[in-house]
Amino acid sequence: MSTQRIDRRTLIGIMGSAGASSVVFSSCGNANAGLTGARWEKSISLATSGPGGNRDWQPGDALKFLPPEKIPTSGKASDILAALTKEKLSLIYERMNASRKWENAMKDLFVAGKDGLYGSFHTYIGEEAIACGVMAALNDDDYIASTHRGHGHLIAKGGDLNKMAAEIFFKETGYNKGYGGSMHITDMAKGIMGMNGIVGASFYLAAGAAIRAQVRGTKQVGVAFFGDGAAASPYYFSAIRSCTNHKIPVIFVNENNFQYMGVPMASVVPTKYISEYTRGLDIPHHLVDGNDVAAVYAATKEAVEWARAGKGPSMIEGITYRWYDHSGFAGGRVGADGAMGLPYRSDEEVRQWMSRDPISRYKAWLLEKGLVTAAELGRIEAASQSAVDASINFARQSKDPDPAQGVHNTHAGGPVAATQFYNRSGIGAS
């Protein structure tokens, strides 16, 4: 085997001209397979110039990792996605749209400032292909454990927009009855184990759910989403090592958007890609274009089959980009896309990445392949917008939780003592 040392852009160029799958790297099997992709027809050895390890990283450098403007309409990933029914393809499009439009609407409300919204809000905008690509390969009863940036995961798995919006408004009709807010939205009934405020929390939650599936023999899988920053969590290697050893059906999905808060991934990750951390573990690794829903779907489908066959975990790394600031909307404007003027990245970088919008790329792919008509896609877009608008009305019209609910829902059996007051039952009765 000869080693190719090329940067990712060149690599994608080669792939594109070769009509390759967007899955750029996949390794699996025994340690000696090294970095060659044993499982994908068109896989290519890992480019040596991934984002990590560049200690001299400067704002604008994320431009070097731009995916091509279009999703390839041929190649293995494209074929695998195209094999889905029209209903399923439409559903993917619907959820990508709902996710985008719902977050956009919330952004406008926050920025406009009229609804008195408060709390943190981490937008997923720009990364929707990962959530929707992964979820398209799952069954309804599979589990996911999300991150702080998880609205897109919820919507992709069928989350209820009304309950989500009401939770952003901290209303009693919200998913979490107003206890949680943006960062904790959960739908246990749909296998959504929740967004979470602790970086790295998803690994064990997904693994535990997957162990439960092993115990019950249900063939469900668990998916743990995590960012490039979260790969540094001490829980990460622990979880993936243990899942490997015990063949626990978990899929570790890394959303590599080049940064954690304002810190460039390049300066805190010594390897070129996150997927290299676990390269020594004998499990499948898929490095994909995270703005290509076909690539994400195809990789996840393979990982899910692997897991359901009892072979254990897989790791998927999707390269993507967030259009907004880490949290909140600095640099964002009502009705306009993307946050501009942030100190730690260049506007050009944001604009270029926005031109690789995963939704537009998917739309172009659907149209080019003639799988869904423009009129049908238009209807889906309109329906998504209506659902989003309705969710805001629902939230506005809902009631605040009763303040005294504050001592409820910590334990199953009833409230805890209201110890903020001098007078309370059980104390100071004398």
């Binding site: 949680g180 439960r212 243990s242």
Partner: protein, 327 residues
């Protein structure tokens, strides 16, 4: 109902719950769940329930994983028990603090958490030193919102509290100190039973002084009680068994009668749970005399001489009781 080894009583309870809930898991690092009754019955949980529901040969030395994975199982809906060895590591506390204890609240009641941490405790014994001699981590866990804490001190409570904890939909930390396992033990019923969470017990009634102790300190208290009786000091000895939720009513009734409270514990003095016991009682029953003797704020030293001097043992308890009566 029979005399049975402490470890057997505990595993019997676990096995009974695993039979009842066939999706329950039991994870451990290396202490394989095998025990033998005096009549020769062998309880081998790996054999009975298989390596998927147990940890088989044992899992790697990674307490964060063991606890985190069990919390994940519980969050997904099945009872999960995890046993950590008595190394007094607290690797696991972050996940219990920020996930196990909070998920129900943060999800607005959606997440249940039938999770139990069976935490082996160190002991104030000579020769181990530092990390291996720690007692009193119950003080840390009791402060975590959403988390319950139990501290059995005999085989009967050990089985009954373990079963109650496993049936509870909230996370429970169950402290298992080896010092309480030797010596005379009460009979342990063969069938499954619960010692209800939040219920303390009066081990000896008396009228001069309420003495509160749990887990390893009960060993020293038991040694002191006959001496105190001989001295004519009438001691009411209460073992709370559960620290959170605390059985305040039981304690209040006692100190209202005795007006004197002595807490004895092996945990480190500053902000040990005994401070909370005192604070709770003086708020409800002002005017009582209250004192705590506890292991000082030092890691347990290795040398036997230093360790016994530091231990709040029977002679020191007797001295304290005499003085509090005189005060």
């Amino acid at each position: 109902m029979a005399r049975k080894p402490y470890a057997y009583a505990q595993l019997e309870g676990v096995a009974q719950e695993m039979r009842r809930a066939n999706d329950m898991v039991f994870f451990y690092e290396y202490e394989k769940p095998v025990a033998t009754s005096p009549t020769g019955e062998v309880l081998d949980l790996v054999k009975e329930f298989g390596p998927v529901r147990t940890s088989g040969r044992g899992w790697a030395i990674d307490e964060t994983w063991l606890v985190g994975a069990a919390v994940g199982v519980a969050a997904a809906g099945s009872p999960a028990l995890v046993r950590l060895p008595a190394m007094t590591t607290i690797f696991a506390i972050e996940y219990i603090y920020n996930q196990a204890g909070k998920l129900r609240s943060m999800t607005g009641g959606q997440a249940s958490m039938p999770f139990v941490l069976w935490q082996g405790g160190g002991g104030r014994t000579k020769g181990s030193a530092g990390q291996h001699t720690e007692v009193g981590q119950e003080a840390l866990y009791a402060n975590l919102p959403g988390v319950k804490v139990v501290v059995p001190s005999n085989a009967y409570d050990a089985k009954g509290l373990l079963i109650a904890a496993l049936r509870d939909p909230d996370p429970v930390v169950y402290f298992d100190y080896s010092e309480v396992k030797s010596g005379e033990q009460p009979d342990v019923p063969d069938e499954a039973y619960e010692v209800p969470l939040g219920k303390g017990v009066v081990r000896q009634t008396g009228k001069d002084l309420t003495l509160v102790a749990w887990a390893p300190a009960t060993v020293d208290v038991k040694r002191a009680l006959p001496e105190l009786a001989k001295m004519g000091i009438s001691v009411e000895f209460i073992d709370p068994r559960t620290l959170k939720p605390l059985d305040l009513d039981l304690l209040v009734t006692s100190v209202k009668k005795t007006r004197r409270l002595l807490v004895v514990e092996h945990g480190h003095y500053t902000n040990s749970f005994g401070s909370h016991v005192i604070a709770e009682l003086v708020q409800v029953v002002p005017g009582i005399k209250a004192r705590k003797i506890a292991f000082p704020d030092v890691p347990g030293p290795g040398a036997g001489g230093m360790m016994s001097w530091l231990r709040p043992d029977a002679p020191k308890i007797i001295d304290a009781a005499q003085r509090i009566l005189r005060a």
